[in-house]
Amino acid sequence: MRKVFDFHGGIHPPENKYQSVRTPIADAGIPPQLIIPLSQHIGAPAVPVVAAGDTVLKGQLIAEPKGFVSVPLHAPTSGTIVAIEERQIAHPSGYQAPCIVIASDFNDEWIPHSGTRDYRNLDKAQLIERIRAAGIAGMGGAGFPTAAKLSVREGVKIDTLVINGTECEPYITADDILMRERATQIVAGTLILQQLIEPSATLIGVEDNKPEGLAALRSAAEGTAVEIVEFPTKYPSGGEKQLIEILTGKQVPSGGLPADVGVICQNVATAVAVYDAVVLGRPLISRITTVTGEAVAQPQNFEVLLGTPMSYLLALAGYQPQKNRRLIMGGPMMGFTLPSPDVPIVKTTNCLLAPTEIELPTPTPAQACIRCGMCAQACPASLLPQQMFWFAQGKEFEKLENHNLFDCIECGACSWVCPSNIPLVQYYRASKAEILQLRRDNEKSEQARIRFEARQERLAAADAEKEAKRAARKKAAEERALQAAADGGEEDPIQAAIERAKAKKAAQVAGAADENELEKLEKAVVTTRKRLETASGKLEQAKTEGSDLVAALQTGVDKTRAKLNAAENALHDYQLANSDAPMENAAPTDAAQAAIERAMAARSAEAALSPSEKARAQLEKLQVRLEKSRAKLAESRDSGAEEKIIEALESTVERLSEKIAAAEQELQATEGA
């Protein structure tokens, strides 16, 4: 028997698991419509590779990963893409996010796919590639992309592979039933992971409240190098850090990764997904979800296609909405409430909990903290929750950080034991968010400070340079004067200058001065006009951005305009003076003049506009720009332009969208006023 360790704290809430394991895993079937969010978990959202109207086969790639920490998406069944649009998704904030919507054709027709039983012949890179291509993300909770988690940095030695079959959260039995029914696949997937990581020990950790699952795993693991470890039931032993401490006695350093203590942790369902991907060649398109709580008539586990609306699954289990006021994704300790039953099942949906009011009553008002310390006894991270509660109330963020707020795993054990019913975890979550926001703000202002200082330095350096040049010139002049004086003063400098000028004039006359002069003047007009245009453009941009450079740019524009006028006058004078000059020369001048007049007219028109009209005009302009940028972005995406360019364009689009939002607000404000 392997020695198991204990971790600090923990609680024993009622398990309520028996309700949903009385029947085997049921097939949820094919719903008429599937909604697949592009972002289902930690990492960058996937990018669709299909368009509305396309027909897809089951298992076909419908969205590609973007970046390293991102996974692809596959069609869970065959059908037609109905739309790619914003839909409400399963997220604590209840916000909407882009989703691919598929109408099923109920044929469930697979795309040709194949795996390999001989995965031992594959090298590590090939294995990781298969896992990545299958779209596997951790199926325990947070859903970290599995391929990224398995890509261990060079030089890091992993000596223990931990497969997590703990499932310590009450009510949830998805992993339990998986271990009972699919222990062989779990062990097979574990062996693939073992080949990939080459640990010296491979452990599947299971709480002792799952004797059937333990027995099934033990018989499946017979004769393999996989060790099944049983340990006492206690919440939250399934937390990655707690499980690692139970099995190895080591603690993951604060802010570090399990790999820092030589451990990689994967969920049992993830192991099955790896088996499906490598041996069967199937991408991750379904999962096992527990539907339980007293508001469903038949609590049980379903094998359900990803993207299935939860309402469809709830109906299968006999959901009684009138009994249910709170629908939870996940368990009662760490799950979050859903905005509506119509959101889709995603890769991390291990449980749908529909409790009655008697089962999980609405929290009563919090009483005063009596510092009983039950929370500190329950805390698996050995924090002092009651102290942190005081600091959180007083917004003493520094003290909160000194009390290691960020080591809180939000397991909820403190809130569960609190006799005064204080929602402690909520205080910590809010404080964490506030501290992170403050950090971001600080970073921003720090960068602004650095930029400002750099600018000041640059200006000072330029001034110093100017000063130095002037001093040098002055010195040179003095030296020349001295030199002249030394030369005897025979040569008058003024006389010399006059002579130089005379010589120049003579040279001009001698050359084909006329045409050159005309060309020069024309060129001057054209370049000055161009400069005016750019300057005006810049000014406009600065105005929309509300930059503090507006005044400077304004004077620049005025100066350039004056220069242009001067240049045009010069050209005009020259043309008058040389009466034989062709008349067509007047045309460009007139065009330039017209342009200037147009600009002036536009400006005066703008000045005449009411603020709301101005804002609307501004908004329209911005919208046009956004359209253009979007088109450009699409074009460069299609043409497979460089990542960098696409990114730059994306950021432009984003910025413009932000500006439009701001402009819309402004418009509303001005109209409101």
Binding site: V252, S254, R326, T337, P355, Q367, G373, S382, L383, N402
Partner: protein, 342 residues
């Protein structure tokens, strides 16, 4: 019907603050029964009158602070304060003494600081010390135990409380007093001469202490508090008594057993030291907090001017609790020891 949107955890354990307080109240019953058996109905009359005053004071304070009465009165904390203070008062105390003590505890020590959970000092002990300093004669007048003197009946107990001028009860020095005042007799002789001494300590006192120990053990079993602070206090006190126990000379401070079963030792250890609001919170902190109280109790009992010392020792350590907490933060998961102590 719209679905409710609240954050996790959605489940809650069975414990509530009211239940904690009720458990504490229930756990005082054995001690109160033993006190009543040996000293008559005085303690029970104290508690009944004290509870009435406490609820009135609590209600007044809540009203002045514009807090909902029902919600806060339901937490039973005022009743706990009243019971603890009234157990500590001499039986047959006059009504005004009890009223002054309770008012000091509830109004001064508790609500002036912001009510339950915000008081830095144990309210019952503040009330006790206010009375001890203000009315030393009434506060040191303990009734003789059963078998040594005549026990007043229930009617006489009520009379003692509400018409104190008409009550003429006998009083006697407590064993702790006797030992402190003694400077000529060997402990053995003192024991033989004074009728108040029993098998291990004072008659009545030893059984009352054992009864409070039983109540405390039950609370421990119910996990209302942890063993750290009370056992550390008892250990600190016993250790000091053992160190300075000279075998029974006239200057002896008393044996460890005598100290453990005398005065308010067990009552203090399980009902006062364990008050969560005013004690240190970390495990190490509670060990230090309890042990220091035990040591202080011995020093004040033997060297101080007051008959018992639990109240002073507890108040002194109440001062120190935040300081102890600051230096005894537990090592957080994934951290090295000591790095949190900045």
């Amino acid at each position: 019907m719209a679905l409710m949107r609240i954050t996790s955890p959605h489940a809650h354990g069975p414990m509530s603050t009211s239940k904690v307080m009720l458990n504490v109240l229930l756990a005082t019953i054995p001690g109160i029964v033993v006190l009543t058996h040996f000293f008559g109905f005085g303690t029970i009359v104290n508690i009944l009158w004290g509870s009435v005053v406490a609820l009135a004071c609590e209600a007044l304070a809540l009203k002045l602070r514009r807090r909902p009465l029902g919600f806060y009165l339901k937490d039973y904390s005022a009743l706990v304060t009243a019971t603890l203070l009234c157990v500590a008062l001499p039986p047959y105390s006059p009504w005004w003494l009890i009223a002054v003590g309770i008012a000091s505890a509830i109004l001064l020590a508790k609500h002036l600081y912001g009510g339950l959970g915000y008081n830095p000092f144990n309210p019952a002990m503040v009330g006790y010390v206010v009375l001890l300093i203000s009315f030393p004669i009434q506060m040191t007048a303990w009734a003789p135990p059963r078998g040594v003197g005549e026990l007043p009946g229930l009617m006489q107990a009520l009379q003692a409380c509400f018409t104190p001028a008409a009550f003429d009860g006998a009083t006697m020095a407590t064993p702790l007093d006797l030992l402190k005042q003694n400077n000529s007799l060997l402990v053995k002789d003192l024991w033989r001469q004074s009728p108040q001494f029993g098998r291990w300590a004072g008659i009545g006192w030893e059984w009352a202490n054992l009864a409070f120990l039983a109540g405390g053990a039950w609370l421990l079993y119910r996990r209302i508090f942890t063993w750290h602070a009370p056992l550390a206090m008892l250990a600190g006190l016993a250790l000091m008594a053992a160190l300075f126990n000279d075998g029974g000379s006239s200057a002896s401070g008393g044996s460890p057993l005598f100290h453990l079963l005398s005065g308010a030792t067990m009552f203090g250890a399980f009902f006062i030291v364990t008050d969560p609001v005013t004690s240190a919170v970390s495990v190490r902190g509670r060990l230090i907090y309890g042990a220091m109280i035990g040591i202080l109790v011995y020093i004040i009992r033997v060297r101080g001017n007051y008959p018992d010392a639990v109240a002073f020792a507890v108040l002194i350590m109440n001062f120190a609790a935040p300081f102890i907490d600051y230096y005894t933060q537990p090592r957080t998961y994934g951290h090295q020891r000591g790095e949190g102590e900045k």
